[in-house]
């Protein structure tokens, strides 16, 4: 049995302009000891999904359906102490921009100790001793425990935040854009530390990022999210070698590689739908060069394709053929604009 | 769209490009969202109509003495059909005075607020944009203005310049620009580093153009906020100055009426009809200014609303 099993989870935000369906039926599982990368464009619901898993959604958000099972327990049915036993202790989260939320007036060591006392019920001496071990683990000298956040570089702060997440020896760590604000070199080192810890501690890791290179570099499995849904999932090697979903195919041609001389890049024209009124059919249809009549009104389900992989596309069976056409097909869209424009829909889409 | 079609649509596009129209739209948006602000606008609207129509609708000249049919001066009359709010101790019609008081309030409030907004915004723009010695000089001036106790200084200045309504307005402008100036300066300091301001420079806009075309429209709503607050302040201050007897003796204002009533022991005689109406009017006018200011504030700093 998988450590984490999410089944058609839906999360909505209630806003002045109606309900925003940030997560629209996500199904996903994470095996023990695996590093899973969750990629997707800004606003596709990655952070919302992560926060729903750990039960720290903002006040205007509500879980609109689905189930989350962690190690056999139904997380969404838990509350109070029972939930807290899972949250932070067995599932830890490194929130987006966490390193900026370190309190500037306390020493980082004290903040770490405080976290362990509050969330883990450790005594002060126990917590202090563990703090030193944690610092060593994430590659920080114990002396740094006495420093204030502003005395640390971004990479070191991120290491402190990782230490905090590991403090209560969780089984699953969710890291939301853990290196986005960091420089390439520092980013590389922090990610490597994270990966090494994941391997030595036998953790499961859910790494959220918009950068598929990071996932390619670090993870065993990849999950591609689009407009509140999972559109493709599988092992990193297989998905990147031969994507089954047109969105993933598009992503592969959309940005350059440093190590290979890129042919002309091909963008995915257009933008994701407004999640306040998601379309009836496939959410990717307006940007998809392979959309057929059916795609516009029939939303594809996430189904197994070949080799134990998953994809949500009506034409997944033709994936191999589509893949060879993908660069030219997306390039044609670049020249003519996305389909919603061609079919006369307002191009600016009203909102963003 | 062909170029001839575009030429036809031109007026529509250029009209929509006026930044001043934009600022007015913001005012309307404030009123539409906020019931208090709408109430404030309505009060000002009524005030304006009353002030404009005063000579027509007022039953008497507010300065004229009125006589009873028997030829006696109609002094200290209680409200009656000919004199809705009674008469003063000298026989002047109180209702007509209240109506004419709206003129003074409006002139003082709006001229002073306009002056405050213009002066404060200019100071803020120059200080914030140029920084350096311009900033230092202007902000030291603001510090000085802040150090001055407002009401005593206003009285001293009016007494010195002579008791005229225009002097009162001038004094208020000179003393009230400081708040607007400081706030606008802070705003300009943060706007100055925005990319679009730098973009204007890169495109070759002169300093003045950058300041007035690119920065000013973005601080105008803030200026209006301080302007609407200044309206209330100015009306209140004018009333205070007049009440203390430093006002323009030739202009009927609500403050002047209160002073008149106070001097003739209207309070002791429980002549509510004399001092309550002008007092109420002052209160309403001041409140209207603050209501509109509040609406602006919520629009500009929406975080306040959530608390």
């Amino acid at each position: 049995m998988s450590l984490l099993e999410i089944d058609t989870l839906a999360v909505q935000y209630h806003t002045l302009h109606g309900a925003v369906q940030a997560v629209r039926g996500v199904t996903l599982s994470i095996e023990r000891g695996r590093a899973v990368g969750l990629v997707g464009e800004s606003g596709c619901g990655k952070t919302t999904l992560a926060r729903a898993l750990i039960g720290v959604l903002p006040r205007n958000a509500a879980i609109a359906g689905g189930r989350v099972r962690f190690d056999g327990a139904d997380l969404l049915q838990l509350s109070g102490d029972a939930l807290n036993d899972y949250r932070w202790r067995r599932i830890a989260m490194i929130p987006q921009a966490a390193m900026d939320s370190l309190d500037p007036v306390y020493r980082v060591g004290d903040q770490l100790v405080e976290t362990m006392r509050l969330r883990g019920g450790l005594t002060s001496p126990q917590a202090r001793e563990r703090a030193e071990r944690l610092f060593a683990l994430v590659g920080l000298a114990p002396g740094r425990l006495r420093l204030y956040p502003h005395e640390l570089s971004g990479g070191m702060k991120q290491r402190v935040v990782i230490a905090m997440a590991l403090a209560l020896e969780p089984q699953l760590v969710i890291a939301d854009e853990p290196v986005t604000a960091l420089d390439v070199i520092v980013q590389h080192q922090v990610l490597r530390t994270l990966r090494e810890l994941q391997e030595t501690l036998q953790l499961s890791l859910l790494l959220i990022t918009h950068d598929i290179s990071v996932v390619a570099d670090l993870c065993d499995d990849v999950v591609v999210m689009y407009a509140g849904r999972i559109v493709e999932a599988g092992s990193v090697r297989e998905v990147f070698a031969a994507p089954h979903h047109p969105y993933t195919m598009g992503l592969r041609n959309a940005f350059p590689s440093l190590r290979a001389r890129s042919a002309r890049l091909v963008p995915i024209e257009g933008y994701p739908p407004d999640l306040a009124s998601p379309p009836a059919g496939c959410a990717f249809a307006p940007r998809c060069p392979f959309a057929i009549e059916r795609c516009w009104h029939d939303d594809p389900a996430l189904l197994p394709t070949t080799g134990g992989r998953l994809a949500a596309c009506h034409r997944a069976a033709e994936a191999d053929a589509l893949r060879t056409q993908a660069p030219q097909a997306f390039a044609r869209l670049e020249a003519t604009g996305p389909q919603s424009v061609r079919s006369g829909a307002p191009p600016a889409g009203g909102t963003l | 769209m062909s170029s001839s079609e575009r030429a036809a649509a031109l007026p529509q596009w250029t009209r929509a490009t006026s930044t001043w129209r934009d600022a007015l739209l913001v005012t309307w948006a404030v009123a539409r969202r906020d019931r208090f602000a709408l109430a404030g606008l309505v009060i000002y609207g009524v005030l304006l109509v009353v002030a404009l129509a005063a000579p027509v609708v007022a039953p008497y000249n507010p300065q004229d003495l009125n006589y009873r049919p028997d030829g006696e001066v109609a002094a200290d009359e209680v409200p009656s059909l000919p004199h809705w709010l009674g008469t003063t101790n000298l026989g002047r019609d109180i209702f007509s005075q209240v109506l004419f008081g709206a003129r003074a309030a409006l002139v003082v409030g709006f001229v002073a607020a306009f002056g405050v907004v213009v002066l404060g915004t200019l100071v803020g723009l120059f200080a914030g944009y140029y920084s350096g010695w311009v900033d230092t000089l202007l902000m030291r001036l603001a510090d000085v203005a802040f150090g001055i106790p407002f009401l005593p200084m206003a009285i001293v200045l009016v007494a010195f310049l002579g008791p005229s309504i225009w002097n009162t307005v001038l004094v208020m402008i000179l003393l009230l620009w400081r708040d607007t100036g400081r706030v606008i300066r802070a705003q300009v300091l943060s706007l100055r580093t925005r990319s679009y301001v730098e973009a204007a420079r890169v495109l070759g806009a002169s300093h003045l153009r950058t300041m007035f075309v690119h920065i000013a429209p973005n601080v105008l709503p803030l200026s209006f906020l301080y302007g609407s607050l200044a309206v209330g302040w100015a009306i209140l201050t004018e009333a205070t100055i007049s009440f203390l007897g430093f006002g323009d003796p030739n202009v009927i204002s609500w403050g002047f009426m209160l002073q008149d009533a106070y001097n003739s022991q209207a309070m002791a005689r429980h002549a509510f009809y004399w001092f309550v109406p002008p007092g109420l009017c002052i209160m309403l006018a001041v409140m209207a200014g603050f209501f509109i200011g509040r609406g602006y504030e919520e629009l500009l700093f929406p975080r306040l609303r959530r608390r």
Binding site: E41, S42, S153, G155, M156, D183, V184, I185, V186, Q187, H188, Q189, L191, H210, D211, I212, S213, A216, D217, F240, A241, L251, R252, N253, A254, F255, P256, S257, L258, R259, R261, L265, V266, P267, E269, G337, P347, A348, G350 | M1, S3, R6, L10, W13, A16, T17, T19, S195, Y196, E198, A199, A200, V202, L203, G204, A205, R209, H214, P217, N218
Partner: protein, 344 residues
């Protein structure tokens, strides 16, 4: 060939807001944001400026565009010193050199419609005789950046457009004055990966079509490889390696470039990588080391690196490197040629 842009020993210091102690001690600390940058950019060429955040890329760009005044050094554009420009000369420089901003969400006046924003350069430079003609030009510019049909964008406000559309509007605005030099500071870093390529392709096509000279700033070497023929790598306010892009990325010579190249993640999980170990302590540009700026983190640091600053001198392959590992770049201080020693 003509040098369109010639930057020589450019320096920019920002005063550091020192605390009370500093004020009492009278110490005047400064940030050396740009610390002796020199390069030339030929007409029609494309130079990529790479480096970590805070290494002085944006400052260099703003100095070139005369948004900041240099502390020292010179910038020559088409043979004329930019520092001395004013009046109509400055206006004409402003017409020739344009800037694409990093944050498209901030680069357009929020109270201006798109049409109004795009009319601004035409008004300033008095391009076009009538308002109708100017509107025609604006429509043409929007069309060129693939915002179609142009009229639908005229009355939109910036907050109504997506990041990719905004960046296209910013590019259109720059093109309206027919510039010769285009400086782009991280033009796609705020955009989503799926639409980055569109903006990059647009910039590439437009600069080829119009023979624009481009200075492209990015922390992302992969993007620079895609966009530029020459690459300069910056570290702590100086250029540590500059040369043909393929050379710099395929055979990095400077230890910092080597570390940078090896740290970039690759979208292909099967491609092997050999990471270079360097410390992740990011230096602060207000206490510059006396010798090589990279000495604290350099895995190959030598004794000489600590006190002698290497000069940017040519090695093979058309590349110039500032590192003592390459004999060419060691100043001949020992031979008594003190004049070549760079001051710090």
């Amino acid at each position: 060939m003509n040098h369109l842009l010639e930057v020589t020993d450019l320096r920019k210091e920002y005063p550091l807001q020192s605390g009370l102690l500093g004020a009492v001690m009278g110490s005047r600390r400064v940030v050396h944001a740009v610390n002796g940058v020199s390069f030339v950019l030929d007409e029609g060429g494309s130079l990529g400026l790479a480096g970590e955040s805070g290494c002085g890329k944006t400052t260099t760009a703003k100095l070139i565009l005369k948004l900041l005044h240099p502390t020292a050094g010179s910038i020559r554009f088409a043979g004329r010193d930019v520092a001395g420009l004013d009046g109509s000369d400055l206006l004409s420089y402003r017409r020739q050199a344009q800037f694409i901003f990093q944050n498209p969400y901030e680069a357009l006046n929020p109270r201006f419609t798109i049409l109004r924003s795009l009319l601004e350069p035409l008004i300033i430079h008095e391009i076009g005789r009538s308002i109708a003609e100017r509107v025609e030009r604006v429509a043409g510019a929007l069309d060129r950046v693939h915002l179609n049909p142009p009229e639908t964008f005229f009355l939109k406000y910036p907050h109504q457009l997506s990041g990719g559309q905004l960046q296209r509007v910013v590019i259109a605005r720059a093109l309206l004055v027919d510039p010769v030099l285009l400086v782009a500071d991280e033009p796609v870093s705020m955009l989503d990966v799926s639409i980055r390529a569109g903006v990059l392709n647009l910039m590439r096509d437009l600069s080829r079509e119009r023979k624009l000279t481009t200075l492209y700033i990015s922390h992302d070497l992969a993007l620079i490889r895609y966009m530029c023929s020459v690459t300069a790598v910056m570290y702590l306010g100086t250029i540590c390696e500059i040369g043909p892009t393929e050379e710099v990325i395929e055979h990095p010579r400077h230890p910092y470039t080597q570390a940078l190249v090896s740290a970039v993640p690759d979208p292909d999980p099967t491609r092997p990588r050999r990471p270079v170990e360097i410390a992740d302590t990011v230096p602060t540009p207000f206490q510059l080391p006396a010798g090589c700026p990279f000495a604290d983190r350099c895995p190959q640091v030598m004794e000489v690196c600590r006190h002698l600053r290497p000069l940017l001198l040519p090695v093979d392959g058309g590349v110039r490197v500032a590192c003592h590992l390459y004999p060419g770049s060691t100043p001949r201080a020992a031979e008594g040629d003190g004049a070549k020693l760079e001051p710090n």
